[in-house]
Symmetry: D2
Subunit: 311 residues, 4 copies
């Protein structure tokens, strides 16, 4: 384009994502959009078709997913270091929604508890989609089959939206999982936790210390792996800039993510499908998976916390 | 009695608990029995009647429940420091059952995976009853209403028993909870975790560091409380022997527990119902609660992981 | 200047700092220079005079000193929360110099072990000046009086430079301190530690988790303070961008530091001495303090680890 | 003896240890004595002669030294897993002496700050001897050559005794070390720390979590070893009773220690010098080493914190 604009970053409240994405694609721009992407899977499918027509991509800002150690976990999982994956334990549960005043006073919070602006879910959409995507990044071969979700509005004014949700998951190959997402987990500052349990070993990660991964082989000493070290998989060293002992934070995750978005856009522009296929970043498909996740959870909860298929 | 015997400690495999307890009571002895107590609630009710007739008590060896900091948590919960209790998050999930060989080679393990000897559950009975009792000790006012349990035998030979179980809980007053019990949580050495979340603050405890409790008030600095300190509630100082900085382990928990059993037996012998009523220890009622817990979980799981009432 | 250049950032090996700084000042530029600043205090004094003449400032890149929680520690120390400061315990001791090969193979390492290029010290200059400056930032009223330093070259080829040093400190008001700096502390990834002990409470910080500070009042529950929270001192919130739960790393520290350099340069340009006086950042005086520190340590060590005055 | 008494346990204030030990030996009893043993090395030598004459042993209650993981550390150090030992970093520094009132009010504290009853040192004798002995247990081949000690009485009424001391150590083979002992380290509950640094790896232990050891090989993932596991050295499994996942505390350390004392006494009674020689426990020689340690530290401090030979 003459104006040099290549992409648009959509950071509006959720209910505007779909229209804005559509408009941007039609204007010939790549899109970077906040999670959760849209409200309905059909919208996702429509956008997918449109993006293909226009030769553009849609990236989703799962902002915690750029941490290098997540790539390390993926490399270890996919190379079989854990044995067969049996359990995926996820948690994104803080307490900053304990005070109902925040729903009124904070502009950033107000629309998040308004069903018209966020759709069928509050914390399931605002928090759990992050951690759920990260679990997909780490365990790319696990296909989610069914979920069961029990959700509550401990701050009653949030009903029918939830401020706390427990989800149980069943995967196609027999693995199971859990998610706890909450904004009323009073006082917890430990943020996101991911634990992947295999038949012989587990991996554990927490975004309050994003540069380490615990690797626990049953019957052997526990191991702690650190970012920036030579013993890591090449995929975990790709985005390395600072070197070991120099610890990173959320900004570096975002930076790594945007770096990958740029590579993806450039590859798309050049028609380099090989690069696009191999690049690990949250794309439109992952955004649609997030919609499926939220809607399946909400449906389960609304039916009284029963098992529902993810589709 | 002439022989000076006052009590019998039953540490047999589960299927022998009922007969042995009955015989001991009929022989005029107090009973200390391993968990889970019996297979059926009816057996518990029958034993209760028998114990009353004989003027004896039945104590249950929930061996981790003697840690002093659990009393601190109870004191803080019951005095309202957390606000209204909203969530009870429990976990007893290790990985020492990852290797199927253990089921055959280890005598201590062999009967635990034999339905004839353990009844309807493996880890739900062997592990989760501990943590469940501790949650009752800490939150005495929470009445469990419904459970939903999804269980698996990741080591297939254990079927129809489970080596992993996810439980969701609903309490009568609207609180919810989770339990994860497992012996195939590969490599995890962190043992039991208890997190109690109230409307304004949370408490967290882990039996790998039993002398500390994390107290997290939303919006305030996180606090760590240590055993043996003057700032603790009197109930948390009752069993104190070593003094601060001298850390305790499982043996002290057992020791505190047996100390309380002795006080209870003595009170029963003297007809001192006041002492008995105020003494916090795992008694026959708690043992029966454990049976209800296991059976409700097993029933839920067997029906496909649906909600069932606890009764 | 016509070319728009306002400042130069000197990141050369140490022996070039003095000439480069002098040239930059004479060219009418502000200077940002790597630590340790120069080899001799006299050079520092000369540069100070030159900078005053030219109306320019010299900033020192103590790159870890931009972490927000250090400002929190300073606020707590200077407002008396700890009582009288008795001890300052410092550590910057990693193990990345264990392998002597690195001295030869790594270009970044080679000049660091060459006395001609680094002067009288290796790790004392390369590592300990960071942590020493941070201790001054936190405890601005502590004046160092005497040091005693025992240093070793465990990799013998580094002699007469050291790869490990123990320093004891005595402050003017009776406080004492310790520093351990090392690149042969095999396997340690915990990086820098700072512990400030007062007559009634202590503070502890570690750059592997830079967003938390432990605040330990004797006889009270330990407290953990988190970056981004409202309960922090205003000084610790000045540089806040991400918000609580979003953890930061070294890049944010550098960013905060350069932000402060920019404010300082602008204030200098405008003749705003009030702003300059109140702004906390590593300036030329702190750079000269670093030279004094290194030289006093080296002198002490060379005399057999005896007490020497810092001057 | 007809009365069946075999040994006496001396837990009096320090100044009575010598007379009581002498009397006990002369009465034909083995002795278990509190640390620090006596005030003068000469007393130790005299008692040694007397014990030999009487065919009895003197054990010293370094009560933290029975933890099983210390045996693991010794096994790893002596088998060369760390390479050449370069540094020994020790710390026993709490804050329970911050309040001067305790010196007056607490009977247990009052004699500890009275030079007539404790000799030349307060915390150096009361605390540091523990950790120093444990370092000898772990590194049996390190011979201490020189110490330098700077000590303070931050609570002035304790002068000329110290409530805080920094010690630097030099060992015969070139290794160096540090000790920090204190009772005015306000708010610290982390108790004793031991870090052993070798040319290629380090070990770290802390008595607040006595069942784990960190094993850090430079350039490899950090490892955490747990008590009770099969991968430990046989020496670390000798005293095992509880099994993995069941964590131990100070009482188990004492129990292991007394078990070893019993074995030593029995071996002495039977004239089994082979067993005695191979058994690891704090004996009279270690008690005398403790006296040497305290006196060298006190001498150094009294001369203004200069290097003195340990003899």
């Amino acid at each position: 384009r003459e104006d040099g604009i290549e992409a648009v970053d959509i950071a509006t409240p959720n209910f505007l994502h779909y229209e804005a994405t559509k408009a941007a694609l039609e204007a010939g721009l790549h899109v970077i959009c906040e999670k959760p992407l849209f409200f309905e899977v059909e919208q996702g499918e429509e956008i997918k078709k449109l993006a293909e027509e226009k030769g553009k991509i849609v990236c989703v800002t799962y902002g915690f997913s750029g941490f290098e150690m997540l790539q390390q976990m993926r490399a270890m999982v996919t190379s079989g270091k854990l044995g067969k994956i049996n359990m995926i334990d996820l948690r994104y549960a803080h307490g900053f929604g304990c005070d109902p005043e925040g729903d009124v006073k904070s502009e950033g919070q107000r629309w998040r508890v308004d069903p018209k602006k966020v759709g069928r879910a509050f914390v399931l959409g605002d928090l759990s989609t992050h951690t759920y995507y990260m679990s997909q990044l780490i365990c790319p071969d696990q296909k989610l089959k069914q979920v069961l979700c029990d959700r509550q509005a401990f701050v009653g004014s949030r009903y029918p939206l939830e401020d706390n949700a427990y989800v149980l998951m069943r995967y196609e190959d027999g693995a199971v999982g859990r998610m706890w997402c909450s904004c009323v987990n009073a006082g917890d500052m430990s943020s996101q936790h991911i634990r992947i349990v295999g038949s012989k070993a587990s991996l554990e990660w927490n975004d309050a210390r994003p540069d380490i991964v615990r690797y626990q082989v049953q019957g052997e000493p526990e191991q702690i792996l650190y970012r920036g070290m030579d013993y890591l998989a090449p995929e975990a060293q790709e985005d390395e800039r600072l070197g070991a002992l120099h610890y990173t934070g959320l900004i570096e995750s975002w930076s790594n993510l945007y770096g990958r978005f740029a590579v993806a856009m450039d590859a798309k522009n050049r028609g380099d499908e090989e690069t696009l296929k191999n690049l690990i970043y949250p794309d439109l498909e992952h955004g649609i998976d997030g919609i499926k996740w939220i809607n399946a959870c909400a449906e389960s909860a609304d039916k009284g916390a029963v098992w529902v298929d993810v589709k």
